[in-house]
């Protein structure tokens, strides 16, 4: 590649401090809630009520290092790593099946590189964002409608689909696969002027889901397939209250019992053994229980501010690649927050998606913060 001097337009230009503040607040709040939610279980299990808090605080520290590295790191260099990012993601996912892979709670989703243990799916998300931002920008620079050619669409959509397929098939992690595909679709949506295709696809998707739901609800509950079982549990949680829908139902009880102002921080009853591992996917329900609708809406509002800030940055930035990166990150957050809250409220079947910044999880926190670093980096080059 030809040497292109990367121009730093104005490093004095302020980055988006509102976004940074919101993120800091969310991370801090997340740590607080993790302690509140997990202390009981941690003290029962490990004899140390701060067990989960300590682990998460450690990951958060590493995450902030990543965040500041990404603020300083010339993000345009990422464009040169686009294909490599995708390949690395694919390789890491495949490594789960190698001896490096680790199985926890019956799921093989982690790999251990000796110094660090992480989920390749999380790497794949950022990899897909970089790849798509880069490739869309390149295709656009070739001509106005290059993207909309079948070949262009294939270049954009096939690699993320492969990655999503790998995630689903190898790590058996449907939620991450959905997120990867969602990010791809969202970035494509922003890149092309069309609406009707998306509306059509959306409608088809809804119809397919409806058909599936009808089919499942009529199927006999043999429950050999756990996803099938989850859908049944979703449709009729009360009938499966002791097994499949136990978690969902307990989460609903938590949300419902919180009322408007909640029971007060630390006062959740559900976290005391009824909502197992509530610090993971179900943390939002405990937030609802302890802080009520008020707390829940506050958190939602903070996420809206965060996503809105991303949108503003994406809109204002002069750099197409940077803009697309921000769109990808924004899509990532939006999908994950929406799906998480949807699962907790039993709006969709249980898929196991974490709430960004708040749920317990080292890899997720690290990459989410790195993505924020990228966004903040891009924000420095806004008009």
């Amino acid at each position: 590649m030809a040497k292109e001097p990367i121009k730093f337009r104005s490093s004095k230009h302020n980055m988006d401090y509102i976004l940074l503040t919101v993120v800091l607040f969310l991370v801090g709040f997340g740590l607080l809630m993790i302690y509140s939610v997990s202390s009981y279980e941690a003290s029962v299990e490990f004899g140390d009520s701060a067990y989960y808090l300590k682990n998460q605080a450690q990951s958060t520290m590493i995450g902030f290092v990543g965040l500041f590295v990404m603020i300083k790191f010339p993000y345009k260099a990422l464009q040169k790593m686009d294909v490599m990012a995708l390949l690395v993601s694919a390789v890491l996912i495949i490594l789960v099946k190698s001896p490096l892979g680790i199985t926890r709670n019956g799921a093989s989703r982690w790999i251990n590189l000796g110094f660090i243990t992480f989920q390749p799916a999380e790497v794949a998300k950022i990899g897909v964002i970089i790849y798509l931002a880069s490739i869309i920008q390149r295709l656009e620079s070739l001509g106005k409608n290059v993207i909309r050619t079948p070949k262009g669409l294939a270049i954009i959509l096939v690699p993320p689909t492969i990655i999503a397929g790998l995630i689903y098939l190898i790590t058996n992690n449907l939620s991450s696969a959905i997120i990867v595909m969602g990010i791809a679709v969202a970035m494509l949506f922003v890149a092309v002027p069309d609406y009707k295709w998306f509306v059509a696809i959306g409608a088809a998707g809804v119809a397919a889901v409806a058909a599936l739901v009808i089919a499942v609800s009529n199927a006999d509950a043999t429950g050999s397939n756990f996803r099938l079982a989850r859908i049944q549990a979703w449709l009729d949680p009360e009938s499966y209250s002791t097994d499949r829908a136990f978690q969902t139902l307990q989460a609903l009880y938590a949300i419902g019992s919180g009322g408007i102002w909640g029971k007060g921080l630390g006062q959740s009853m559900q976290k005391r053994g009824f909502l197992p591992e509530a610090q993971n996917d179900m943390i939002f329900s405990i937030i609802c229980e302890e802080l009520g609708l008020f707390g829940a809406f506050t958190i939602i509002l903070l996420f809206v501010v965060l996503i809105w800030s991303c949108m503003v940055i994406a809109n204002k930035t002069m750099d197409r690649f940077g803009s697309l990166l921000v769109v990808g990150v924004m899509a990532h957050y939006a999908i994950q927050v929406i799906l998480n809250i949807a699962v907790v409220t039993n709006t969709i079947p249980n898929t196991g998606i974490t709430l960004p910044f708040i749920s317990y999880g080292g890899t997720s926190t690290l990459f989410l913060l790195m993505e924020i670093g990228i966004v903040l980096n891009v924000s420095k080059y806004c008009r």
Binding site: V190, Y253, G256
Partner: protein
């Protein structure tokens, strides 16, 4: 141009792209906002529609089951701090299969650890866990001590620490085992003072003795760990700590108690199956009371039982069999009969008879020991001045009855002192006549005869219906009452009344507990000696002491005197009701030392198992043995010269304590220094149980100087091998004297 064109084109394109981008971003943001709004609405509806419902559901699945935290029942110690009864924390091993099987991998290490630490059958454990995967409460082992439990805890911690290391995920954890706390009551001295202490099961409900009388004091309040809903309908978990019970410091001295029990047991063993099948006597009781404050220093009776094994029916062997109404049948219980009793469901009836305290629950006719009361009444009322003389011809006709004296040939002329010394019934009948019915009844009440003493023990008998009143007491009753026949007393009544005669006339309420302390050892209550009344004047008391001293020094009580000491006292030989059966209660009541009374000792032998029962020597022998040991122990110094024979005798009694084969040993112990003599060896030996060979065996439960606990078994063990030959000689020698002195007493109620 071309470049400019392309530039323009590019710019336009970019503006175009930006416009598209802005619009599409806005569209995407709109979708996102809509999604959030939708979720917000859903949250709102869930809360609005189901808040109450879900709150109830949450509350309904909370476990409110409260756990009881058991309190510790108070300890009972003797005056020296020797523990007589104590509650110990024990643990029940409980397996929670559901928790254990939370992870299949946990089962194997947990069950293996259980079987290895507690010696349980691994196959059975596995089988149980497989068949009952949902069982949450399965008690594997009951009442193990902390020492038995702690190896499991150590192992669990070690194993789980190892398993939590990286790469050991397959090891599983030891989980699902917990320990339920409980207290059990232990009596370190087994049979010692069993009737006084009583016993308590796991229900913390005392039965008999101090355990029953002070049940509420000894018991604390259970603590509780429970959940409750506060004002905001949130569940609060609270722990209310248990309040441990208060402890009792008894007035008993375990050593004196042990000495008494030793000689009672010795008597029993000597006369076991002698004249008839069964125990050495139907009952034997000894009370030692501090006559100056009413404190009971020892209260022993036989047959006794093991407080740690109260329901062992083999302890009934040798006792008389009871019928369904609790009446004695005269049959003696043996091994075969136990099964029969069991079948008839009478085991508890018999055990009750064993458990009750003879010293306070059984009443009997006191016999001649009551002559001390009669004489005190006479002196106090002035009806007897002391210079009277009585003519005894061997019998007296009262009303229409011919009542014989104990010596049928008659005592001849006796003065007051002589009457007491010779225990002359005729003289006392004449005294009774002089005193009169009214005074006798009045003084019986003054002496608390027929009333409870209110000693702090459960099960004191009421004898109100067993004594005369003015309506029922005629001349015959007055006459028999004067020498202790016709009405009933309990041992504690007699001992306490006698104390007041000795100590200057102060009737102290007898008591067994000195101090009540809380679980921190702070004194909650001091039980001070309580003078209930003045029975006689101190002058009368002084006179009585002299008469009673003479009764031992010159009269029937001679055989009760321990060598080297001057004591006072009175023997008694009472014919039991159903006079034709020729059963007797022989007794001795006395005080020591004669010049400065410290203790009153009362020994009652109910139906000694001998061919010829009516000899008070069976009681005086026990008293003499006890006093020979107790007085030196109490640091009461000898006042009397001892003959060489007496010295040898004392050496024989005390010497064996130091050396078992004691024919000529005991010089170091002769002066009652055995307390010190035993100090050096006993606690370390602690004791082999069959220590009849051990050189410096202690007969004390507690070293009186160090307060250290010594195995009381030793004393009892040693006693069985006790060489009694010297005593035998003494006894046979004195029997003659007794006979000529005439303790044997007969009441014939002839027409």
């Amino acid at each position: 141009m071309a470049g400019k064109d392309t530039k323009k084109k590019k710019r336009r394109q970019r503006i175009n792209v930006n416009k598209i981008k802005s619009r599409k971003l806005a569209a995407m943001m709109l979708i996102i906002l809509l999604a959030f709004a939708g979720l917000g609405v859903r949250l709102y509806f869930i809360t609005r529609d189901s808040q109450n419902d879900y709150q109830k559901k949450i509350l309904s699945q909370q476990r409110y089951d409260s756990t009881t935290l058991p309190f510790k029942r108070g300890t009972i110690t003797d005056a020296n701090g020797t523990i007589l009864a104590v509650s110990e924390k024990v643990y029940n091993v409980v397996l929670d299969c559901k928790v254990m099987l939370d992870d299949e991998k946990n089962a194997e290490p947990t069950l293996t650890a259980l079987s290895e630490c507690f010696g349980l059958n691994l196959t059975e454990l596995r089988q149980y866990a497989e068949q009952n995967p949902n069982s949450q409460y399965y008690v594997l082992k009951r009442r193990i001590t902390y020492d038995e439990m702690s190896p499991f805890l150590d192992r669990k911690n070690e194993y789980n620490a190892e398993a939590s290391k990286k790469g050991n995920e397959e090891m599983g954890n030891i989980s699902g085992v917990w320990f339920e706390e409980e207290y059990i009551r232990r009596y370190p001295n087994n049979t010692l003072a069993c009737d006084v202490i009583g016993f308590t099961g796991t229900d913390n409900n005392g039965t008999y003795g101090l355990e029953e009388y002070y049940n509420d004091t000894l018991n604390g309040t259970n603590g509780r760990e429970y959940g409750y809903l506060n004002d905001d309908a949130t569940l609060e978990r609270t722990t209310v700590a248990a309040v441990d019970g208060s402890s009792l410091v008894s007035t008993l001295d375990a050593n004196i108690q042990a000495i008494c029990e030793k000689y009672i047991k010795q008597f029993n063993d000597e006369h076991l199956n002698e004249a008839r099948e069964g125990l050495g006597a139907t009952n034997i009781g000894v009370i030692i009371q501090d006559c100056n404050n009413g404190e009971i220093k020892a209260m022993a009776s036989y047959p006794n039982y093991d407080l740690n094994d109260t329901k062992n029916s083999s302890q009934l062997i040798g006792m008389q069999r009871l019928d369904a109404d609790g009446k004695k049948t005269g049959e003696i219980i043996n091994e075969e009969m136990l099964a029969q009793i069991e079948e008839e469901g009478l085991t508890y009836l018999h055990l009750d008879a064993l458990w009750k305290n003879f010293c306070i629950s059984d009443s009997y006719e006191p016999g001649s020991t009551a002559k001390s009361l009669t004489l005190a009444m006479g002196l106090e009322t002035g009806r007897i001045v002391g210079n009277e003389t009585y003519e005894c011809s061997g019998a007296l006709d009262v009303s229409d009855r011919h009542i014989r004296c104990n010596v049928r040939s008659g005592h001849g002329t006796l003065d007051v002192s002589g009457a007491l010394e010779q225990s002359c019934n005729v003289a006392f009948m004449k005294m009774g006549e002089a005193i009169g019915v009214k005074n006798t009844i009045q003084f019986e009440q003054i002496f608390n005869i027929g009333l409870r003493t209110n000693i702090d023990l459960a099960g004191e008998a009421r004898t109100a219906s067993l004594v005369f009143n003015e309506d029922t007491m005629g001349p015959t009753e007055l006459a028999t009452s004067s020498f202790g026949q016709g009405y009933n007393v309990t041992m504690i009544e007699m001992a306490t009344a006698f104390s007041s005669i000795i100590n200057g006339g102060y009737y102290y309420e007898p008591h067994l507990v000195n101090r009540i302390t809380n679980s921190n050892g702070d004194v909650v209550k001091n039980i001070e000696p309580r003078v209930l009344k003045q029975t006689i004047s101190s002058t009368t008391s002084e006179q009585m002491r002299q008469y009673l001293y003479a009764a031992v020094a010159e009269g029937t009580g001679k055989s009760a005197r321990p060598a080297g000491y001057a004591i006072g006292g009175k023997t008694g030989t009472a014919e039991k009701a159903a006079r034709d059966k020729k059963n007797y209660v022989v007794s001795f009541i006395g005080f020591a030392p004669a010049d400065d009374p410290q203790i009153v000792i009362y020994c009652v032998v109910d139906e000694p198992n001998v061919a010829d029962q009516p000899h008070a020597t069976y009681a005086t022998g026990i008293v003499k043995n006890i006093l020979t040991e107790v007085l030196p122990y109490m640091h009461i110094s000898k006042t009397e010269e001892m003959t060489i024979a007496e010295q040898e005798e004392v050496e024989n009694v005390l010497g064996y304590l130091g050396q078992e084969d004691s024919s000529e040993t005991g010089d170091e112990n002769a002066e009652g220094e055995n307390a010190e003599g035993t100090e050096n060896g006993e606690s370390t030996e602690a004791e082999s149980g069959e220590s009849s060979e051990s050189g410096n065996t202690s007969n004390y439960v507690v070293d009186p100087d160090t307060g250290e606990l010594v195995n009381p078994e030793t004393g009892e063990k040693a006693e069985m091998d006790y060489n009694y030959s010297a005593e035998d000689g003494e006894e046979s020698g004195s029997t003659e004297g007794e006979n000529s002195g005439g303790t044997s007493q007969e009441v014939s109620l002839e027409d």
